[in-house]
Symmetry: C2
Subunit: 448 residues, 2 copies
């Protein structure tokens, strides 16, 4: 199965104006594929093709489109058509879409939506990004705990079509407080006359509306869930989160971490669709910070100008020392940042981690400096004392870098910053200064 | 909901030897939590606690344990107990576990397992890592296309308990070829007398046993699936993959990418459980490669020793130039690597990408060199010509670095290498040489 389908036939029908045939074909197509197909439809024909879709398919396809395409479509169809789509979309998809639009456009769109639905959507739009409330849906199966299984199954048959999932059903008491969960599997395999409260799992795992989406993703991973209920402060059931949305959350959080680790401001937009100015803006901040902090290295070199003047060849070892130190430190920080992100390393492990890194640093440092020493003795043509200086500096730098690389991310976490900023680029800048000080001090002893 | 539960009460019961009470409590507990609880049980009491679990719960808990703990348990229980567990585990969990063990232990364990099951397990163990076959399960719901919905529902009620999921059911023809899929939701909402072939979705999305797990994860993301069928070369249905396993695959692939991007050999073991020697081994390879390639930078500096000797202060600008170039290049490479991994950037976009990066590099380069120039004019105390040299070099370095940073990962992909190796560390080493050459050539013009 290839990831990207070939839409040549659909495009051909479009170009030949065989609209009846095209209409039939696209209404049989999967919504995710249709959204992809629209990327290939020339802009001036998108509206025409979109109007060939049935009401259901139009809303479905719309929910798979990226926000630019959604905005294009909404700007070109009539107000009436917009409302039909908003009504057909599930609440979480509608909120995702509206959340990307300017406030005045949202207001205009919501003007004619039914009051109930408008209130719900507005309520959702007020949840902060990245919390349970912003990713949950309200289309879930809920039973009163007094229901029999027969009654529950009847309710599923009657209302199940509109629900995000019917495979996990939630049980509430008289005050709508969440008291249990039952899977459709268990319902199906149980006697119709029993009560749902007899077969429900009452040790139910749930989250609160304001819980962070990264923590929620970790709960899904730990318990292998397909859905998770969301409650308010009084433990009343207000929504559910399904695993397909969590897959997106995991990807998003990983991208964010990777971007932060490379000194980029995180962005949710696709690279190819982001303008040059936005790309530059996301990069210049850290480049400036790191450049300015890099002036420490310059100051250190200036401070040891006399050492350097007495042996200019020492300068040629600065890159190798700085780079190796930076790489050694980045390796350590990456493992610690990732370990904390996936919940394998806790702050309380700090002493274990440091002791581990010192030993790993020692092994790597000794090997690297031995290889470097041999290389210099064989090919270098440099005096023995210089070779000793370089190799000793290298070994110490690697050990210190590994230690700094593991301590700084944990320190950031302790201070409630995101550890991901303490990755390669920042570690490199810090390690640069350290390696230069080590280098020049050793040089002062052995060479001067 | 906190991510980690508190097991103090269970530990207290254990320490007070209240085994009857402990047995009751742990058999009510969730298997994922129990696996976590076992991490806190002292090693000499693990076996005792494990034997308090019912057969079902023991196998369930076992499947959530990490491979070290599993091996500990298997080494201390009787052969008979091992076989009970292997029989209770779903095939994919059994294969995951056995895949981590040495071949002779696997052979010993499988010796007394029923022949059918042994053949299936052996077949699974032969699939290469990271392909569909190695992550699929054979416990799925399958109907002949001739079945009525009533018969299908009866089959679900009879055999559904043992299946990995009953929410997606697959339809096969006389030759066991996959011809359709139907959700339990659709089954429930349809008339019992209809045939499954009337209501099934026949445009079914499937993968082959040897397809790569990263591509499969992308299919799950694109179509928001909860399960995906796996077929052999004759399109016969052989297994299914469920979304909870895909969540693990996504995390694993992301960790692998992040590690490669930081010059680490990827490892599937938890940091805290990995020995110092293995950690060092995973790091030393790239550190050596990068150190040796870093000798180019040394050679370049040596080649321009006369320039440096005439103005030793130039050396103090080497770190800032190298670091800024490295950071600028890493930012570009990270965005391109990530964009390709999540399928947003294709190789055919290369010209668009380069043109974008050149412009972004120009904007960042101009801002950085302007800030740097001002800083030097105000605080530097360096001659104007030196300041011009530094700032001009910085601007050119940033533009070139951005270009190199975006080209190399795409080049790696073209050559079927993993683009993730063309990240920060390697880019930095390449960019170092470039920035030094630019710097010394400009210095030769302006200063000598």
């Amino acid at each position: 199965m290839e990831e990207k389908k070939n839409y040549d036939e659909l495009i051909r029908l479009l170009n030949q104006c065989k609209y009846a045939e095209l209409k039939e074909k696209i209404n049989e197509e999967n919504a995710a594929n249709l959204a992809e197909f629209f990327e290939e439809v020339p802009e001036d024909k998108r509206l025409l093709v979109f109007r060939l879709l049935t009401k259901d398919n139009a809303a479905d396809t719309f929910s798979y489109m990226d926000s630019d395409m959604q905005e294009d479509i909404v700007n070109s169809i009539t107000d009436n058509e917009v409302h039909t789509i908003i009504d057909e979309l599930s609440v979480d998809d509608a909120v995702d879409f509206l959340g990307e639009l300017p406030a005045n456009v949202v207001k205009k769109i919501l003007k004619d939506v039914s009051e109930d639905r408008r209130n719900i959507i507005n309520h959702f739009l007020n949840y902060p990004d990245d919390c349970a409330g912003s990713i949950m849906t309200i289309e879930f199966m809920e039973f009163h705990w007094d229901y029999t299984i027969g009654k529950a199954m009847e309710l599923i048959r009657k209302t199940g079509f509109d629900k995000e999932t019917i495979y996990s059903c939630y049980i509430v008491d008289n005050k709508r407080k969440l008291v249990g969960v039952v899977s459709l599997r268990t319902l199906l395999l149980s006697d119709d006359n029993k009560k749902v409260s007899d077969i429900m799992e009452d040790d139910v795992i749930f989250v609160h509306t304001l819980d962070d989406q990264e923590d929620i993703a970790n709960i899904f991973k730990k318990y292998n869930l397909i859905a998770l209920p969301v409650v308010d402060n009084e433990r009343r059931l207000v929504g559910i989160i399904t695993v397909d949305d969590i897959v997106d959350v995991i990807e998003e959080e990983n991208t964010e971490d990777i971007e932060k680790m490379s000194a980029l401001l995180p962005s949710e937009d696709e690279y190819l669709k982001t303008g040059v100015l936005s790309l530059a803006k996301n990069r210049i901040v850290w480049l400036l910070v790191l450049m300015v902090s890099g002036t420490f290295s310059s100051a250190i070199i200036n401070g040891y100008e006399s050492v350097l003047a007495s042996s200019v060849m020492l300068a040629s070892f600065i890159p190798i020392l700085m780079d190796t130190g930076g790489n050694a430190g980045s390796q350590a920080s990456t493992l610690i940042i990732r370990g904390m992100a996936v919940g394998e390393i806790a702050l309380s492990d700090i002493l274990t981690v440091i002791w581990k890194e010192v030993r790993v640093g020692f092994i790597c440092g000794v090997i690297l400096s031995a290889v470097n020493f041999l290389r210099l003795m064989i090919f270098g043509g440099t005096p023995l004392m210089v070779n000793i200086t370089i190799s000793l500096s290298l070994c110490i730098t690697v050990i210190v870098s590994k230690t700094i690389g593991c301590v700084l991310p944990m320190f950031a976490k302790k201070l409630h910053f995101d550890p991901a900023i303490m990755a390669g680029p920042l570690i490199t800048t810090v390690v640069d200064s350290v390696s230069l000080i080590v280098f020049f001090n050793i040089a002062s002893i052995f060479i001067l």
